[in-house]
């Protein structure tokens, strides 16, 4: 958090100072019917006063479990089965519940991952902050109320005094996360555990909140244990990194050293797959002045070379637009108190075209209207005004056979691979369902088509008989893609199709999509909030804000010389964008 140059990052050189947190050989397991399943296997970690240390890893790596063990909040079946967690010389693994209650909040603060589920929906915001202040003996009575307002103001809620009586559902995600940060820091703890504090938020909000958190913890001299899956983010925010893989620490040390010279193959893959970093890699391939350094850092990796090469050498094709959107507007009516109605302009007079065989990205934050555009194009919502043409034909009023034919040619893939597959349907049936719906082929032909599709998305044939619950997130998204491809469509509308996936899995799916595009001459409309991913896959970019397109240009133009202030703000907010390399 402070300038890396001025802080001695090597733990060995700080021997004279006792560490705030010292984890040695920590083992955590979960009790199941088949015995203890290890989740954390021999983790060592040292954090000094005032330092920020990030644990990086994908889901299931044990990073959150490690953090939860520190604050004694392991979920039901979890327990520490070995090793020690020393906090200021006391071994936390030996603490009783009552002792933990003393330490929590006052000594060790906690900022959880999902702001939507971490505030109690039935109590007001003020109540929930005040409760923390009172429980930790910071203040009582009227003073506590005053302190509550201060805490919230410090956390960035300027109108805190008016909003104390409001409930969590009346706050946006970013605001809730500020409240949670306020709660975590309310008692000025020595250590703050921030478990993916911003992964559920928009990039620009994420940046504001992390900046704010950084300022606060620096001012208070708080040490931070930062848990994240995003290597770029971790390197930007922490001076020390610990990379975890399958419950073990595979690499640890100063952030910069790890980023520049990852030793362990897993870290190398992570560095290679991080879209934020890959985006810079493209930059370095493209720019002739690429230094030795950037080549060394980004030269090798598992995001397909082809993907990067393609991104580096793309050119706008000159064909006719396959999808042509002209001046479309969508107004939703929102019922208000009584009989009044408010109009919400979700999409405000936008126009763009998508050429055959290309990828056009719609980028924007939540509420920008990008998903509404997808629904309008897919004919899932009706237009308020404007025109959408597909293959030279106006889609207005299309129905019956024509609509069916349109749906065959334009298929969607949605964000949540957990919600968009029917858990009661086997993978084979899921993929074959569009064929049935369009009454295509005999049972035998459908069977063969499913086999072919499983091959195309690199799933084993045996997956046909499995159910979504048995698959990982990445595998489910492959199933969703296979289902979308079943009808041999020409266009795929990918609505945040890789946003919910771990970085390595995301890389694989992006590779797959790129291969399929070349192989099947697909056209993609790629809807995302993640500019780093856009850089990898898109030919053209439309940046949306508040229902309008604020900038539309080729990807290179947007990334290299965008003049739009909002686009620049988004680019700035890409985690890792600020890491200066080659120092």
């Amino acid at each position: 958090m402070t300038n890396p140059e001025t802080v001695s990052v090597s733990s060995d050189s700080s021997n004279d100072e006792t560490p705030l947190l010292k984890i040695r050989n920590l083992e955590v397991g979960f009790e199941t019917q088949r015995g203890l399943v290890p989740a954390v296997r021999g983790v060592d970690l040292t954090l000094y006063q005032g330092q920020t240390l990030a644990i990086v890893g994908e889901s299931g790596s044990g990073k959150s479990t490690t953090a939860q063990a520190v604050i004694g909040l392991l979920p039901g079946a979890g327990k520490v089965s070995g090793g020690s967690i020393e906090f200021e010389g006391h071994d936390l693994t030996q603490f009783s519940d009552a002792q933990f209650a003393e330490v929590r909040g006052s000594q060790i603060g906690y900022v959880p991952q999902d702001p939507m589920s971490n505030l109690n929906p039935v109590w007001s915001i003020g109540f929930q902050v005040e409760e923390a202040i009172k429980a930790n003996g910071i203040a009582q009575g009227k003073e506590a109320r005053q302190r509550t307002i201060e805490v919230l103001q410090e956390a960035g809620l300027s109108d805190a005094s008016e909003r104390l009586k409001q409930f969590p559902h009346q706050f946006s995600g970013g605001m809730r996360q500020r409240v949670l940060i306020g709660i975590g820091l309310s008692a000025r703890p020595k250590l703050l555990i921030a478990d993916e504090p911003t992964s559920a938020l928009d990039v620009t909000v994420q940046r504001q909140i992390l900046d704010h958190l950084q300022t606060l913890t620096r001012d208070y001299g708080t040490s931070v244990l930062f848990i994240t899956h995003d290597l770029g983010l971790a390197a930007e925010r922490a001076e020390q990194l610990v990379v975890m893989y399958k419950g073990k620490v595979v690499e640890s040390g100063p952030s910069r050293a790890i980023l520049e010279n990852p030793q362990h193959p897993y870290t190398q893959r992570l560095v290679a797959a991080a879209p934020s970093l890959a985006s810079r890699r493209i930059q370095s391939i493209k720019s002739a002045k690429s230094t030795d350094d950037s080549v060394r850092i980004f030269g090798e990796g598992s995001l397909d070379e082809a993907l990067i090469a393609r991104a580096a050498t793309r050119e706008a094709s000159a064909d006719e637009d396959l999808i042509k959107v002209s001046n479309i507007t969508k107004v939703y009516e929102i019922r208000k108190q009584g009989f009044r109605k408010d109009k919400l302009l979700a999409v405000n007079d936008i126009s763009f075209g998508v050429k055959k065989g290309t990828t056009t990205a719609l980028v924007g934050e939540s509420g920008s209207g990008k998903s509404t555009v997808a629904k309008l194009i897919l004919q899932l919502e009706s237009l308020t005004s404007g025109n959408i043409e597909f293959d030279g034909k106006n889609l207005a009023g299309i129905k019956g056979q024509e609509l069916l034919e349109f749906r065959r040619r334009v298929q969607p893939v949605f964000q949540d691979p957990y919600g968009s597959l029917d858990p009661q349907y086997s993978v084979g049936n899921t993929i074959a369902e569009p064929l049935l719906a369009h009454k295509l082929g005999t049972a035998k032909e459908r069977y063969n088509r499913v086999s072919e599709l499983l091959d195309q998305v690199s799933l084993p044939q045996a997956a046909r008989h499995r159910y979504p619950g048995e698959l990982s997130g990445g595998q489910r998204q492959r199933v969703a893609i296979a289902r979308a491809l079943a009808l041999k469509p020409e266009v795929l509308v990918l609505d945040e199709a890789v946003s919910a996936l771990d970085v390595l899995v995301q890389g694989q799916v992006l590779n797959l999509l790129t291969e399929l595009q070349t192989e099947l001459e697909l056209t993609y409309l790629f809807i995302t909030h993640d500019l780093a991913v856009v850089r990898l896959v898109a030919d053209n970019v439309c940046v949306m804000q508040g229902g309008r397109i604020v900038e539309a240009a080729s990807t290179d133009e947007v990334f290299e010389n965008s003049s739009n202030p909002y686009t620049q703000e988004l680019l700035e907010a890409i985690p890792g964008a600020n890491i200066t390399l080659g120092a």
Binding site: G76, G105, P112, N120, V122, W123, N136, G338
Partner: protein, 309 residues
């Protein structure tokens, strides 16, 4: 909120007419001649049956009968039973007794059900939880009258703590044992509902956050787990008010209580249209009011629910 409550009251009007019409029709459609049945094997003098029919409007077409009944209703006249007692008097005698019984049962099942459910939820998988589950399963599967007879035998006859039958006036004290019997099945459901809800909420993210704030376990449970867990329980209780009034038939039979259950049962057997319809209409209104109460309680328990429209 007021607007919402007002709207719900207005909705009761069609519900009332619909329910009374349907019930009236069903009583009308029951085969057999109620007047002839009154006299059993000794037919009265000719003309008497016709006269009695005319007195109770049974000689008129169904729709006229119904309209006459509704018309009387608005003048405060609910008709008379075949024995000549005004229906309103019968109701004034039966409803308070059953209401006392149902309220006692409601209080018993809510109080003990929530406590047992909470403790079971907090100690999921432990002995207390397992026993609570077994006992609740027993109460659900054993018929009410069996529970009734067992309690009557143990507490009434063996221990002599309570009267085995309830006197005509049915004071609160005598109704405790019948109320326990009446509450038994619902108690079991509330235990299970509360237990599941508490166990669910214990794993919620906001409970973890509350613990991380440094709150004591006691405060986490009472402030953050219990209130959130009560929402489904309150729904159940609301619906149960109605079932308790209706379900009292069996319990009232066991303890010989002169409540709604017995009265309606007799009226149905005799085919006394006005009596049946009046009683059922009141029950329908109680049902609707209880549901309204639940919806308003919802909003009090969960601020996300606001009835703006």
């Amino acid at each position: 909120m007021l607007w919402y409550a007002g709207k719900r009251f207005l909705q009761m009007i069609p519900v009332f007419f619909g329910a009374t019409f349907l019930i009236y029709f069903m009583v009308f459609a029951v085969p057999g001649d109620p007047i002839a049945a009154l006299y059993g094997d000794h037919p009265p003098a000719p003309g008497v049956i016709e006269a009695v029919r005319a007195e109770y409007n049974l000689d008129k077409p169904f729709i006229v009968q119904y309209l006459l009944y509704i018309g009387g209703l608005f003048q405060g006249d609910l008709g008379t039973t075949f024995s000549g007692r005004p229906v309103i008097d019968v109701m004034a005698q039966a409803f308070p007794i059953t209401a006392r019984l149902a309220l006692l049962a409601l209080a018993i099942e809510a109080f003990f059900g929530i406590i047992v459910g909470l403790v079971a939820g907090l100690r999921k998988g432990k002995l207390f939880d397992a026993s609570a589950l077994v006992i609740s399963l027993l109460l659900i599967s054993v018929p009410t009258f069996v529970v009734g007879f067992v309690l009557q035998y143990v507490f009434g006859i063996q221990l002599g703590w309570a009267r085995t039958t309830v006197s005509g006036a049915a004071p609160w004290g005598e109704l405790i044992l019948p109320a326990i019997v009446l509450a038994s099945v619902s108690f079991a459901y509330i235990v299970r509902l509360t237990r599941a809800s508490v166990a669910d909420n214990l794993g919620a993210d906001f409970v973890r956050t509350a613990t991380a704030k440094g709150l004591s376990r006691r405060r986490v449970v009472t402030v953050h787990v219990l209130r959130n867990s009560l929402v489904p329980v309150v729904t159940y209780l609301g619906v149960d008010i109605g079932s308790l009034m209706v379900g009292a038939i069996v319990t009232e039979g066991i303890f010989n209580i002169n409540g709604v259950g017995g009265t309606v049962y007799r009226a149905i057997r005799l085919g006394e249209g006005p009596t049946v319809v009046s009683f059922v209409a009141v029950m329908v209104i109680i049902f609707v009011l209880a549901n309204l109460l639940v919806d308003l309680l919802y909003a009090a328990l969960d601020p996300r629910i606001r009835y703006a429209k």
